[in-house]
Symmetry: C2
């Protein structure tokens, strides 16, 4: 954890109502950190429907492999998350560690090992001593409480400077259901430090395949549209659990993603995913500013997203933002290098509401004072219109500061 | 230009012999900088064969468009290069500026406008006042000298901390010919600052189409294998000129790239291109260390190069190098995110000669002391073997330091 809290941190935290059917506990197992919790146990007293999306890395962590293998069973009774060690690139030892952890969790909670889900974040390449879980999971299960979300978010932090929680409610077939989520992440990955994990739970009664489709769709414009440093974690994990407790209130189980009753729930879920994803960006390592990059007028939405990510990942764009410089020339550069169709002479670029470039050259009415004023803000909207088609996308990133280099280069010294 | 010279700068400069048939002059036209030269004129008294490769940016500068249009003519009599303004993203004004500059150069040298080549580097989006050339090119032509390479290299510098020159000689059909080159570049692009330009000339007699094939092949493992910050310039230009003066010594004109007489020349040209490309990396903005990334055992050479660039462009790998941290976990991350086939459990990673990981986990014989000793060096070799096939590639980059952020973020303040 970093000493100083990000200036972009939320000013307050929402009250997190319990999710019926879910209890949580944290413990300090001393995996790496001292004097802080580093293990989270989530317990579902009845099997919960489960969905998950994971890193696209070709070198995923052992827990990611483990979760992918269990997902087809569709049921979750326990989730064990640890910080301080990612159990990534640990070979056979890593697999053994996930098996031992799952065994410990299964006996503690009284479920099958394929009803257990795991996530780890922290150093890569260090063998994870799963023996440290065996000792604590039993007591954690006994002490687990429904009203524990903020503590849960704290236990999975690494270089995060603040815990990340969000909650929404929605009417589903006339019954009010709740969705809660936690997340951690500050760099897309940095051994000893960050990765991106998020766990979302609802008391709604939704079939696993529907849940999976909702999550797969919801992740694209949210967690898959944020970038801190363009580096993709070996461990990124986003899971969604539905306890089904709302069935007791008469909520009819949703078995089709086409079910019109899902409309409000889907909107609430997507809003919550975006809330959590933006909290991750706002805690980006060394971040002082958040940048919202919107690309319009591209040939396709996919092209727009690729161009938006090219801008959001450009070190020169990100350092210019850190320098509060309305350096639209670097935005042109990032558009040009994205590899997607672009017509220089149709480009228009805005910082906030200030159009700085149009028709392939500086806006005749360009006001450096007005543009600079936008750059002094905490949130910097950048918009590029390509003038080619209807494709559009929005991604979020943060600035690139000396603190990012210090966090990721100086931590040894 | 930066105040302090890169610690990776060459300790000495080679003597640059003249290239028969080529004269050069520089001038201070006051385009942006004060008290320094900012214009280079290269004059070929007889039409020289010409070849060129340019940025892949979809938003190229006006001079790049101009050169591409002239290249099919295959003949060069004059080259005008300026620093301080890139004439990029300047719309119709940019095209007018290239036309006026070409007209001035053509009348100064006495050639056709399609025998003129142009390159500009500096701020993007600012209209370039080509009138500043009109005044100086005539006098420059009169004063142009063959023995002027180091001054030529200095005139095109932007954030470069040292001029970049290289020379080679080769036997071509029993006649000794010379190849000289200059380059500039420190960031792949940064308005007000850097881009990558290089001009290479030889007295060999080689047909333009052969020259173009030699250059297109030679650029891949050299200029197309270096990255400072993953940002691609709108203005990158590499040109190769052959005056043919060696014909006077009896060198038979080379009209086929298959000509066996080319072997030594090709090797010398490629060595010179690599020399110049590495000088650019060693002058990377804020660089304190050079990193040579070699990927072996990939499915194809293309896959190896993509993985090598993923490592070389990773902010987390580059900051770890800056921190002298043998952080191979970040190398695993960068391999995983490259999108090419990789088998985690076959990966092996070396820093220098120290194998830090093998078979998908930390090397049992891993010595942190030995690995850290490698990281303290100025040149850091990183090797990854994927264990999948025969594909291999090597790319070069530099570390990511707070100075990079300062150069690109603080320059306004």
């Amino acid at each position: 954890m970093s000493a100083s809290v990000s200036p972009l941190a939320p000013k307050s935290y929402p009250d997190m109502p319990p999710i019926r059917g879910l209890r949580m506990a944290t413990a300090a197992a001393g995996i790496k950190y001292k004097n802080r919790t580093d293990v989270l146990l989530m317990v579902f007293d009845q099997p919960a429907a489960v969905a998950g999306v994971f890193t696209r890395s070709k070198c995923p962590s052992a827990p990611v492999d483990f979760c992918r293998a269990n997902l087809p069973h569709g049921k979750a009774r326990a989730v064990v998350v640890n910080s301080g060690n990612a159990n990534a690139f640990t070979g056979l030892k890593g697999r053994a560690a996930t098996e031992l952890t799952a065994k410990s969790a299964a006996s503690a909670v009284g479920c099958a090992e394929n009803e257990v889900y795991l996530a780890s974040t922290g150093v890569i390449g260090e063998p994870l001593d799963a023996g440290k879980f065996a000792g604590v999971l039993g007591d954690m299960n006994i002490g687990a409480k429904p009203d524990f979300w903020l503590d849960a978010a704290k236990a999975i932090m690494t270089t995060d400077t603040y815990p990340k929680v969000a909650t929404r409610s929605a009417s589903l077939g006339g019954v009010t259901v709740t969705i809660n989520g936690i997340a951690k992440g500050a760099g897309m990955i940095a051994p000893d430090m960050a990765t991106m994990l998020s766990f979302v739970a609802t008391d709604a009664d939704i079939a696993p395949d529907v849940l999976q489709q909702l999550l797969a769709t919801g992740v694209e414009p949210t967690f898959n549209s944020v970038t801190v440093d363009s580096d993709t974690s070996t461990s990124d994990t986003l899971m969604l659990f539905a306890t089904g407790a709302a069935a007791a209130d008469g909520q009819a189980r949703v078995t089709s993603v086409e079910d019109p009753a899902l409309a409000e729930f889907r909107a609430a879920l997507n809003a919550l995913l975006k809330d959590l994803a933006l909290q991750v960006v706002r805690d980006g390592e060394g971040a002082r500013k958040m940048v919202e990059v919107t690309v319009t007028g591209a040939e396709t939405d996919a092209a727009a997203k690729r161009i938006a990510l090219s801008i959001a990942n450009s070190p020169l764009v990100k350092t210019a933002v850190a320098g509060e410089d309305a350096n639209w020339g670097r935005v042109v550069m990032a558009v040009g290098k994205a590899g997607e169709m672009a017509d220089r002479d149709r480009l228009a670029i805005w910082f906030g509401d200030v159009r700085v470039a149009v028709n392939g050259e500086r806006d005749p009415d360009y006001s450096e004072a007005a543009a600079s004023a936008v750059m002094k803000e905490e949130d910097i909207p950048v918009r590029v219109d390509l003038g080619l088609g209807e494709g559009r996308a929005t991604v979020w990133t943060c600035d690139l500061t000396k603190e990012y280099v210090a966090i990721n280069g100086d931590y040894r010294s």
